[in-house]
Structures are given as structure tokens and as C-alpha cells.
């Protein structure tokens, strides 16, 4: 049993594990579950709501005690309350937006092109990151993606895995690759598609 004294975030981390490093890992894992929970509940800003859930539990440490047997249950309860609040706020926003003029042209061309660039960049990075996997990992990801359902069954046999394990391994590798795409590699600016063809690596408007 941990009794919060409101003095330190250490108490908060102890909810997860006595070892600080393991506690930080478990905290991050729980944050990911919260984000998914809000996504699966169709909430508007899952990451913000996950953060808010954690902030509320942290605040409660000051005046209540927690059992460490199942800390996730506290977060789950708090998250469910936030779903109701989010739905209520969404309905209110919808009512307000209905009375405003709807401007159908909110972004500039630069915004649109920037979004295109972001997509292209991300996919280029993904391809680079695929090369950073071990050959076995890369084979699993590539073959899992490009084979059809029957082919994936054959792949599981080739790799001596059950379908469930193959699916899990693919999911974990995919998550790792996507996390890595958030960190743009320094070399990327040198390898943009149009970099040495037109005008120093930037798009141009045709004259």
C-alpha cells in the first residue's frame, strides 16, 4: 500500500513498480493503453486525454491512498469519466459550430503541400528504417505486408510461429518502426526526391 503525501512524483511512479526504471517503462506502456482506449472510444484528442487521465490520478495522490495490486484500475476508472466529459464537450462544440459560418477553404496551398511533403518524408524514412532492421526482422515485416492471407499463413509455418505470434511480432516491429519515424534522420535533407534536380531541394511553382 502506498500512501501519497503530495510531495513527490516518486510516489506516483511507485504505483507502477518499486524500481524506478521499470516503473517508467510501465508508466509509458499504460500511457499507450490509455491513448488506444480513447481512440477505441472515438474520443477527439486521445493523447491529450491520456495525459489528462494521468494528471488526475497524480493529483489524487495527495489525498487518497492506492493499492499497488492493480494501479491500472484507477486509471481505467478515471479514463471512463473523461470519456463522458469529452462526449459532453463534443456535443456542446457541435451545437456552437452549427451556428457559425462554415468556411470551406481553411488552408493555404503551402499547408497542403507541406502536408504532402510530410507524408512523402515519412514514407521515405520508413523505407530507410526498414533497412535498419535485422534481415530476419525485415523479412517478417515485408513478407507479412506483401503476402495475402494464405501467404501469411505459409509465412507463419516458414518461421515456425503460430499465426497469433506472427501477428504480434509484426505489430511490435511496426510500432518500433513508426516510433523511429518520429525522429527524422539528419541525412534526410540530402535525399529528398527533388533535391538536386530543380532548386536546392524545394518545390517550385511552375512559371
Amino acid at each position: 500500500m502506498i500512501v501519497g503525501d503530495g510531495s513527490s512524483s516518486d510516489v506516483y511512479l511507485q504505483l507502477f513498480d518499486a524500481n524506478p526504471a521499470r516503473a517508467a517503462e510501465k508508466h509509458e506502456a499504460l500511457r499507450r493503453r490509455l491513448i488506444k482506449f480513447f481512440e477505441w472510444r472515438r474520443c477527439r484528442s486521445p493523447e491529450d486525454l491520456a495525459q489528462e487521465t494521468m494528471a488526475r490520478v497524480f493529483a489524487k495522490l495527495q489525498n487518497i491512498s492506492f493499492s499497488t495490486d492493480d494501479p491500472a484500475a484507477y486509471f481505467f476508472g478515471c479514463a471512463k469519466n473523461l470519456v463522458h466529459e469529452d462526449r459532453k464537450a463534443a456535443r456542446k462544440d457541435e451545437r456552437q459550430n452549427a451556428t457559425l459560418d462554415n468556411n470551406d477553404w481553411p488552408e493555404s496551398d503551402d499547408d497542403v503541400v507541406a502536408a504532402m511533403d510530410t507524408q512523402i518524408d515519412r514514407r521515405t524514412i520508413l523505407q530507410q528504417r526498414l533497412q535498419s532492421l535485422t534481415p530476419a526482422e525485415r523479412k517478417l515485416v515485408v513478407q507479412y505486408c506483401i503476402r495475402n492471407s494464405d501467404g501469411r499463413c505459409r509465412l507463419s509455418e516458414e518461421l515456425n510461429l503460430t499465426m497469433g505470434n506472427l501477428r504480434l511480432q509484426f505489430h511490435r516491429l511496426k510500432e518500433r518502426l513508426l516510433r523511429q519515424t518520429q525522429e527524422k534522420p539528419p541525412a534526410l535533407q540530402q535525399v529528398r526526391p527533388s533535391s538536386h534536380v530543380l532548386d536546392d531541394g524545394h518545390r517550385r511553382r511552375q512559371r
Partner: protein, 264 residues
């Protein structure tokens, strides 16, 4: 007693097709058990991949549309998986001659990645063509993550009108304000470029000239992007034509034509 590992239950949870009691049960379980959460997330990946490969059984498609494609947060995962699929297609292609030519060239690595980016664009076209076995399936337009309300349609080349109902079929979300067309014209030098959008059996509904277009050179030609209001595109079949003057003193001619279909 509910079997939480039952694949049908997990799929129904992901497609929002279960009772409130079942939902509560599944949610409590994935908060309690990280391994169960991973299994659910992996099952979601599988559903998305089935969708992107047009292998999603007919009976699940409506639920997939409502639960995943109509949800901005979950649709982002579809975009992520589409990117990984395109990268995997490119990575899965064998090298032309097996030699590691890029290691011999000081500029080789840059050229390699430039080519890889172009392959990704082409891979999108390839992926769209994979929808052919199931003509009724509409590819969801790619929704950009940083500019809500804008959807991007990559128009695959080499399609005839006969192919129209089997490929380049897009669903544009109801809330979209703008559509951004993207295509690659297989030329590197073009003057006086003009682009026209019209229904297959109708007059032009939008045109643009060079100044309205964003053009980038790639190894496979000019990548052209053109934004139009989404309200222009009701359900139906369309042709997008690019014409240009290939050389000074010559008459303009059609340099690219793309057929596509929109469902709402």
C-alpha cells in the same frame, strides 16, 4: 464466461460490434493485462492490412468503415499502415542486376534514396491496382495528418476507362473541404502545362494552368499536385487530363490522362 482471447470477440470489439457489457469486459482486461492489449492491437493491424489489400470480407466492410475510417484517430493508423505497405513493396522488389552499384558511386546513396522515394509514389499506384479483384471496394482517400479537411488522391497511371470501376476508386469523407490530386507525368520538361477535370460524360468542371499547380521533378517525371474544393466532386466517374507544350513552337498536346471514380 466470455473467452477474451476469442478472435471473433476481439474483432467485434475493434469493429464496435458488441454489447456495452462485452466492451466493458474487454476494456478492463486490456488495462489489466498488457499482453492482451498487444493481442488486440495486433488484431487491429491485421484488420487494417486486410482492408488495404482488399481482402476484408464483405460482411465486415460496413463496420470497418464506421469504426475505423470514419474515426480521425483510427484512420491515422490506416495511413501509417499504407505507408509501411508501400515501403515494404518497394523493399521487397529485387534489385535489377544484383550488383551494389551505389557503393561504387560517391553520389550513389543520394541517388538510391531519390529513386526509393519515386518507387514509393509508384508503389501507391501499384497498391491501388491491387483492389481489382473486388470492384465494389473504394479506396479511402489518403487523409493528411496535419491539415484536417484535406484529402489526397494519388492517381495511378496506365488505366483505361474499362479499368475505371476496378481501380482509382476513392471515398471522400463527408467532412473533407479540399481534395489534393497527385500524379506523376512521365516527362521532365514541359511548358504551358494545363490541367483539366471533367466528368467522363460531361464538360470541364475545373481547370488550372501552370501557376496554379505545384510541380516537382522526380526521377520518373514531374510530380504534379493540384488542390480543388471537395464540393466539386460528387459521386461519379471523372477524367483528369494534363496537356502541355512538349517543346517550343509545338502545339499543346495531352501528356497524361487519369480516370478515377468517386463514391461518397
Amino acid at each position: 464466461m466470455t473467452d477474451l482471447r476469442d478472435e471473433d470477440l476481439m474483432r467485434r470489439f475493434l469493429l464496435e460490434d458488441l454489447t456495452p457489457e462485452e466492451r466493458e469486459h474487454v476494456e478492463a482486461a486490456f488495462f489489466r493485462d498488457p499482453a492482451y492489449f498487444d493481442a488486440l492491437s495486433a488484431a487491429e493491424d491485421e484488420l487494417i492490412l486486410l482492408h488495404l489489400r482488399s481482402e476484408l470480407p464483405e460482411r465486415w466492410r460496413d463496420s470497418f468503415q464506421r469504426a475505423i475510417l470514419d474515426s480521425p484517430a483510427r484512420r491515422r493508423h490506416v495511413d501509417d499502415m499504407r505507408g509501411l505497405l508501400a515501403a515494404s513493396v518497394a523493399a521487397g522488389a529485387p534489385p535489377a542486376d544484383g550488383s551494389r552499384w551505389w557503393k561504387r558511386s560517391p553520389k550513389g546513396l543520394g541517388v538510391l534514396f531519390t529513386a526509393a522515394a519515386a518507387v514509393l509514389i509508384l508503389a501507391f499506384g501499384w497498391l491501388l491496382r491491387q483492389d481489382r479483384p473486388q470492384p465494389a471496394t473504394a479506396s479511402p482517400a489518403i487523409r493528411t495528418g496535419v491539415t484536417p479537411g484535406v484529402v489526397t488522391l494519388f492517381l495511378a497511371p496506365g488505366l483505361t476507362r474499362a479499368d475505371l470501376r476496378q481501380s482509382n476508386v476513392f471515398r471522400i469523407p463527408a467532412g473533407a473541404a479540399r481534395v489534393q490530386f497527385g500524379l506523376v507525368v512521365p516527362q521532365h520538361q514541359l511548358a504551358e502545362m494545363r490541367i483539366q477535370l471533367r466528368p467522363v460524360d460531361g464538360a470541364a468542371i475545373a481547370t488550372a494552368t501552370g501557376g496554379d499547380l505545384v510541380v516537382r521533378d522526380t526521377v520518373d517525371g514531374l510530380a504534379v499536385t493540384w488542390p480543388v474544393p471537395a464540393s466539386l466532386l460528387g459521386p461519379g466517374d471523372y477524367i483528369l487530363t494534363v496537356s502541355a507544350t512538349p517543346a517550343p513552337g509545338r502545339d499543346p498536346e495531352s501528356v497524361a490522362k487519369r480516370f478515377f471514380s468517386v463514391v461518397r
